[in-house]
Each structure stands twice: as structure tokens, then as C-alpha cells.
């Protein structure tokens, strides 16, 4: 346990709401969760940070890369955090995160009470479920906590000892980069062998992180799909309770429960759970036995499901008007937004589970990978790796570390291993399809001692991948011989414009040298 037990002047309304919520949960489920942690953030900006971070990485302790960090910080500055959401981390002894804020004047503590009921319903389910979903999240949390501790202890000392402030960012990027790539088994090319563990604290740390990351990735991949069950059950419990309230209270509180009620995952999950029993305690008993979403949705065929979910969608239309105050653009802009998220879950997520019988996260991940490797281009003196990465964790500077952390030759981080080859990365942003190239400028020159792994002459280019014929004009080069000896045979799963972009970038890389 952290901290000491202290006498606090606790807001009596808060305490009241908390006790009421427990009572309501007891009445509804005939049980209450006992093992959970409720974090109540007095500083709502800290809550925003935790929310953004958890959404981006999947756990509240994971380390974020410098690139993503900047983006998230910008979101916070622009006040774009979706902080109407309650954060619930469904590990063993689940963590409930709530910001401290007022929800309207009269019914503020009532709203808080209902939000707590929502969370307690989830917590009760997580406590008793037969699924190993909470165990997985627990493992994730533990691993991330270990890494974060290792990070804080080692890196602090290391940065101080060597007087090298770049080390913070380096390890941050390294850890986050490994986390992403190890999910796809792409992390092997930049980890040194165990024999150099004794070389320095630097390598020791890298090896430790790698092992922990490996475990973490395994856990993530094995994780069952459980979102429908969890959200659906909580939605049902909360909805049931709201039904018993007075009409005018309902009217006042429902707008504030926008983040809890009417979310597509919850609404769809609820529809399936309703088939499991007559009253809530019965359903609870049934739902506890479910191991994953597949077991929940397999009761209907695809056709039946479509029919049922169409009815739910119509119902959602009527209700969701409660949650938006703008009447001008409701039908033109707001409803389509909600509907598109709904359709995505009802047809893509539920559809995939029903048609292909997906049970675990790995199957979903394999279907639309965020990172994939397209092989390598082989040049005379080096290789160029080709990837597509649809994630903000790894950007140019992060790639540089992967490219380079074994290239730097100063005493503090010398190594016998070659680094990653130059890389070409494809990334899509809506209508944009970018191919970027990262290479080292003077390969032939004797390396001076760089001050850090970032300290290298770089060639960086980014181009729009396009079908246009005249898109890639290049500065002509006289001796074409070197370029003609490039081997493009090992590439796979690429489109024609992508191939052209690769050729152009390789040519450019040669020209600049």
C-alpha cells in the first residue's frame, strides 16, 4: 500500500455517493466488488494525462515515445481530451479512474453515484469472471510497472553519471519502439546478444527490457476479446437502475452519463446479454461464465444478429439526441459520427467474431496489423528495410534509434553489431499516403565519435505516394551503374505506386550521397 492512512476532510457528498453506489450495486447484483482501487483525481489535468496515455498504449504505466508524447501534449493544450469518459482498467483488482468535477449543480452527486455504479458493475464482473482477461491486463500492468521502475532507476543514474541528457529520450523511445515492434515479432534485429550483458549497464538494461517486453507482447497477443461482455454488462446494470429513478431525475442525469451510456460497445453488448436471463442476478451468473466475446455473440447467426442490431441502432437514434445540445447539425453531422462508430463495431468487430470465430486479440491484430514488414531492398553496400507503420509511436527520430543505436562507437556504447539497415516507411493519414526514407549520409567516411546515437549526418525524405506519372522527378545522376545494381526482388505485398516510390527514394538516397 502506498501512502499513509491519514485524516482527511473528505467531501461528505463524495463519500455519500460512494456508499450509495455500493448499496445500489449490492441491491442489483446481490454482491459488491471488494478488491479494487478507485483513483479520484483532484487535478483533472492529471486525469487527462492518464486517460490519453492509457488510450494510446493500453495500460496506465506504459512508457510513451517522445513523438507520441508531443502529440498527446498538444491534444491536451488544445483541450481535445475526451475527458467525459471514465477510465476503467480491468485488471485483477481493477483500477477505476475518475476526475473530480461538477456534473451540473443539483444532481452532481447523483451523477457521480451513477458513474460509480457503472464502474462497480464492471469491477464485480472482473472480480468473478472465469475469463482470463483480467489476468492478462494484470500481467500487462505488472510488466509495464516493472519497466517504468527500471527506467526511472537506471536511466536517472545513467544520465547523471555520463552527463548525457539524451539518454532519457533514448530509453523512452527504445522502450516504446520495442513494445510496438515486438507485438509483430519485428524486434529481433536490434537487440544485442546476451554475451554483452556484462559490457555495461546500458546493455544490461536493453536486454532486461527486451525480455520483459517479450513477455508483455505474449500476454497482449493471448488476451481474449472481452470488451463487449464488460461494457455490455455495465451498460445493462446502469440502465436498469436508471429506469427505477424518477422521471425528472432521469432527465437531469442522463446527459451527464454520455460517456457511460449509449456507447456502441455497451449498447451492442447489452443486447446480447439480455438474452442470458430474466433478471440481473441471473444474468450476472451467466455472464461470469463467459470467457470471451465469441461465447457471447455466438448465440445468433449472422443474419439474426444483423436484424437485432438494426433494431438497437434505431433505438439508439432516439436516445442519443439526449447527449447532444446542438440541434442544427445533429442530423447532418453528429448522428452520422455516432452511427459510423456503431456500424464499425456491429459489422466489423461482431462480424469478424461471428464469421471467423475470433477469440483472441492476436487474430484481430493479424487481420489489420499496425506494423508490417515488406522485405528488403538489397544494394551493393547495404540493405534498406521496407515497412508500413500505422502508429504514432515510431516516427523519424525513433527509427533513428533502431537504425543507429548500435552504430555509435564511443566508449560508452560501443558494440560489435551492425545496426538496422536504412529504412523506408509507409504511413497513411486519411487521404495522405506517405513514404519516408531514413538513411545515413556518409557511409564511406570514417565515423567521428558521435556524441549520442542521434548525432549522425542523415538523409531524410518524405514523399506522397501517388499514381501520377510525373510525380517523381529526380535530380539526374551521371553514373547510373551503381543504381542499376539494386535488387528489388525481395519485396512483397506492395502496390505499383509504392514500388515506384521505393525506387525513387533509393535513387534519391544515392544522389544525395
Amino acid at each position: 500500500m502506498i501512502g499513509e492512512e491519514i485524516e482527511m476532510k473528505l467531501d461528505p457528498e463524495l463519500l455519500n455517493a460512494y456508499n450509495n453506489a455500493r448499496k445500489i450495486t449490492q441491491d442489483l447484483l446481490s454482491t459488491t466488488p471488494e478488491d479494487y482501487k478507485l483513483f479520484f483525481f483532484l487535478d483533472s489535468s492529471l486525469y487527462d494525462s492518464v486517460l490519453l496515455q492509457t488510450q494510446a498504449t493500453g495500460s496506465p504505466k506504459a512508457i510513451i515515445s517522445a513523438n507520441e508524447l508531443q502529440l498527446l501534449q498538444q491534444l491536451k493544450t488544445d483541450d481535445l481530451t475526451p475527458n467525459g469518459m471514465d477510465l476503467f482498467y480491468a485488471s485483477r483488482s481493477p483500477r477505476i479512474f475518475l476526475p473530480s468535477k461538477s456534473y451540473g449543480s443539483e444532481f452532481s452527486s447523483k451523477v457521480l453515484e451513477l458513474k460509480l455504479v457503472h464502474s462497480f458493475a464492471k469491477a464485480a464482473l472482473v472480480e468473478q469472471t472465469k475469463s482470463n482477461f483480467p489476468d492478462t491486463l494484470q500481467q500487462l500492468y505488472r510488466n509495464d510497472a516493472i519497466i517504468s521502475d527500471l527506467f526511472a532507476n537506471n536511466v536517472f543514474e545513467f544520465a547523471k553519471e555520463r552527463n548525457a541528457p539524451w539518454i532519457w529520450q533514448y530509453f523512452q523511445d527504445f522502450t516504446a519502439g520495442t513494445r510496438l515492434l515486438s507485438l509483430y515479432d519485428l524486434d529481433d534485429f536490434y537487440i544485442p546478444p546476451t554475451s554483452i550483458r556484462s559490457a555495461s549497464i546500458f546493455y544490461n538494461y536493453l536486454l532486461e527490457i527486451k525480455e520483459i517486453m517479450k513477455k508483455r507482447s505474449k500476454a497482449v497477443i493471448k488476451a481474449p476479446l472481452y470488451d463487449l461482455v464488460l461494457n455490455g454488462f455495465a451498460e445493462m446494470v446502469l440502465d436498469e437502475h436508471i429506469g427505477t429513478l424518477d422521471e425528472h431525475v432521469q432527465k437531469a442525469v442522463i446527459p451527464y452519463l454520455k460517456g457511460n451510456l449509449g456507447q456502441p460497445l455497451g449498447v451492442i453488448g447489452k443486447r446480447f446479454i439480455q438474452e442470458r436471463g430474466e433478471n440481473i442476478p441471473d444474468m450476472f451468473e451467466e455472464v461470469v461464465k463467459l470467457k470471451n466475446d465469441h461465447e457471447l455473440v455466438k448465440i445468433w447467426t449472422r443474419g439474426e444478429t444483423k436484424e437485432e442490431l438494426e433494431k438497437v441502432r434505431e433505438n439508439l437514434t432516439n436516445r442519443s439526441i439526449n447527449w447532444h445540445s446542438s440541434r442544427n447539425s445533429y442530423w447532418s453531422d453528429l448522428w452520422p459520427l455516432r452511427a459510423s462508430v456503431y456500424d464499425k463495431i456491429s459489422s466489423t468487430y461482431v462480424g469478424k467474431i461471428q464469421r471467423r470465430g475470433y477469440k483472441s486479440f492476436s487474430e484481430l491484430l493479424g487481420d489489420s496489423p499496425l506494423v508490417s514488414s515488406h522485405g528488403r531492398v538489397i544494394l551493393q553496400d547495404r540493405e534498406v528495410g521496407v515497412f508500413s507503420i500505422q502508429e504514432e509511436t515510431v516516427a523519424q527520430e525513433q527509427l533513428l534509434i533502431l537504425r543507429n543505436h548500435l552504430q555509435a562507437k564511443k566508449d560508452t556504447f560501443s558494440t560489435p553489431l551492425p545496426g538496422l539497415p536504412d529504412v523506408i516507411v509507409f504511413k497513411k493519414y486519411a487521404g495522405m499516403h506517405v513514404a519516408s526514407y531514413l538513411g545515413i549520409a556518409d557511409k564511406n567516411q570514417e565515423q567521428k565519435y558521435p556524441l549520442s546515437p542521434y548525432d549522425l549526418p542523415l538523409i531524410v525524405r518524405a514523399i506522397q505516394v501517388t499514381r501520377k506519372k510525373d510525380a517523381y522527378q529526380s535530380d539526374e545522376r551521371e553514373d547510373e551503374t551503381k543504381i542499376s545494381s539494386v535488387n528489388y526482388d525481395n519485396l512483397e505485398k506492395l502496390t505499383e505506386p509504392q514500388h515506384r516510390a521505393i525506387r525513387y527514394l533509393i535513387r534519391q538516397g544515392e544522389v544525395i550521397q
Partner: protein
Amino acid sequence: MPHRIFELTQAHYPDPLVDYSSTEFVLEFQDAAQLLQKWRNPHLGRSSREGTILGLASQARASSDAIKNKILTTMLSAELEEEYIDKLNVYKFMLDRTLPEALELVNLDKLLTPEDIEEFIRKHLGLMEDEYGRKLLTATMLLDDLHEITDIEIKDKFGRTRRVSRNDVLDVIGNILGNILLRQVSLWTVDDVISRPRGRFHLKKTYRAAIMRENSIPPSKISHEDIRVIDKDRLGIIYFIVDMSQSMNKQVFKDGLTRLDGALLTALGLFYYFKLFNRRKRREFDSFKMHIVPVTKNPYVISDTKKFENFLFDAEGKGKTRLVHATNVAIKHATENYKDNNYDVQIVYLTDGRPNVPFDGSIPGLKSNFLKEYFKNNMDTKTPKAAQECMIQLNQIFNYLHRGRERNWNISYFLMAGESFRATGLFKDTKEMLGSVTAPIIIDPTEIDNLGKRILKEAILSDR
């Protein structure tokens, strides 16, 4: 049911979005000078511009995802909801149409400067507003943000990159270079000092008065009678005469910086210094008015600030050095446009000291034979005849201005060259030409630290 309440502090639960890597990132003069070079040669900065577009894209994507999420989960007022919808549309438009096209154009070197990119996006958002048939507040706001566009990549000493905006860089140049150069340029906003202990102190003059009275350095005390206060502020007009001849293209400084780069850096340094000064003064009119006179075939005066800045970024060296012509233009401009003698005039030369086209018409001032004699006696000088003729003319003008009683004319003569230039005959000749009016200052912008010390020393020596 042992439910217990703990109080956790920031120490127990730190902000997960903490930026571990944020160490001090100081932009130094060297960096600023190099960046300037990049701007002036847009082909050098292509990957940086591509990075700008990528940065905009990833921010737009993250923002639009977050907005969607926010609209669906967070209670919002009607105005806010509509604002977010607008924002969402703008980002969507940017991601689908504007940025891909912009990136293509940057790839093809058709958008060469951050201004080009901004202009392009502005045009596109205009199109979008036409499509919507109304003004989109978000689009306007986004454009305002673009002014702060961080278009330039710099590296710290560990090689980590950061993006900075042009203004950051120019502030550095103005602050460092301008501050140092100002000691040579004898423009102060002080007209006179009076011995009356009321008003704002003029520390330098006060200190000097004390030294003069006691005849010792440092003075043991500052007495009542030493105190000098500033009487009133005066106005200054500055003419930068920038040599843009062929010879200025020669690379004489470190890192391939040409003489012209050096001259423009110096001009920029002073320009931003005075601009900052004007801003700081917060008067309804500017204390300093700045003009630039490029030494071209037909020298002309640029007074508009925007054009001035653009000129400094776009200038390229070609043709001969018509220094006398440019001087004439500046003097004419000053006497015709600023009839009020309350204006002090400062003419700042930024040149390599090789004028080569004598002026045909009449020039102000009395002919003096002094410099002619000097060249006659120095038969072995390597300065060409045309240059000698120009120098004689310049000397005549300078003497005329220096003696003029109706207003204060000041001359600064900056030579773009390395320290070794001091030993050449041309430097001696130039020194002779400037005579008692002023001393030539050799400027090597890449040696900024030494420059500061030297100018300080020379300024103190010459300012007795």
C-alpha cells in the same frame, strides 16, 4: 469491508505525459546563421519542409480522432459542439486534399518556402469555405497557428532535432549580433545629456563624467554634479547600403558562408535589434525608421518592412559595385523625405570594400586633394584605378556629411572579411578614405564571440 482512503501526491502518481527528454534547448548564434543559409537556399531545406507537412498531418490525424472521441463521450455546449464539428471538417479536408497535394508540390520543389506552404494552405481553406458557403472560424484560427509554423529543424549538440520557427531564429540573430554591432553604429535615442539629477540616468555619461572629474579609473565615487540624465528621445533613420555585386558571392567564412550571407546576417541582426527596440518602446511611432539600399545597377530605397525582410531573404549577388550611386540615392531620400532636422541619419555600409563604378554626375561637398595625394604617393597600391576614383568620391561625400551642421549624419562601414583582411593594402586604403569620419570594422559573422569583444574594445577606444 476495509475501505480505506489514501492521499496520493504527485510524487506517488506522477504525470505519465512527463517529457523526460526536455532538457534546455538553446539556440545559439552559430545555429541561427546556418539556418539562415538554409532559408536563402530553399533546395537545402526540402526534407525540412517535408517534415513540416508530415508534422501537420500527424497532428491533424491525432486531433480529429480525439475530437470524434470527445464529441461522442463528453458533455458539450451547443456552440462547442458546432465548433468541434467545424474543426473536424477542416482537419478532414486538410488530410484528404490539402496536405497530400502540398506534399507532392514540395516533393517537386514547387513550394520552396514556409510562406509558400502557408499560402497554399490558405488558398485551399478558402476553397473549403466556398464549398461550405460560410466562414469557418476554425479555418481562420488554424491559419493563425500556421504563422507560428515551425518550419526549421535544428539539432542540439547531441544530434536530437527540434523544430523552431523563423521568429525564434531571428530573435537570436537580432539579440546577439544586433547588440554587438550597435556599439559601432552611433545611433542612440538620446539627444543630449544635462547635468540635472532628475529623469532617467544616462549611466555611461555619468560614469565618464566622474572619471573626468577625478582623473582615475574607477572613480572613487559618483558625486551629485556627475549625474547625467537623458533629456529627450530623438528619432533615427537608418539606411543599410548592401553591396550585392558579383564579388560578394565569394565564400570567405566558415561553413561556406559567402560575403553576401555575412552582409545580410549583419543587416538582419541590426534590423531585428531596432525592430525589437521599436516594439519595446511602445510609442505611437517608431523611434527608428529603416531603409535598405541594394547596390544594384539602379539603386533604389526599400522602406516597407515586409519588402525589406523579403529582400534580405531573397537577395543574390550580381553585377558591379555602384557604392557611390547607392550613397547618393540614400542621401537624396533622406533630405527629401525627412525635412525635419530632428532626425539623425545613420548610413550603414555592408560591403567587401571594392567599389568599382565612379559616379558621373555631381556629388555634394568640396573636392579635396588629400586622398588623391595619398594614392599618388602610394604607387604600389593594388587598389585598381576605378576603385581609387570611387574612394575619392566617397571620401568627399563623407567629409561633407560629417561637417554638415544642420543634422547629424553618421557613417558605419562594415567590411565582410576574415581577420586576415586587416593586413591588406585595401584595408589601409579604406581606412585612409574614411579618415576621421569613422573606422572600418571587419566583420566575420561566424566568429561572433570574438567579434563582440573586438568591437567593444574598438568602440571604447574611438568613443573618447
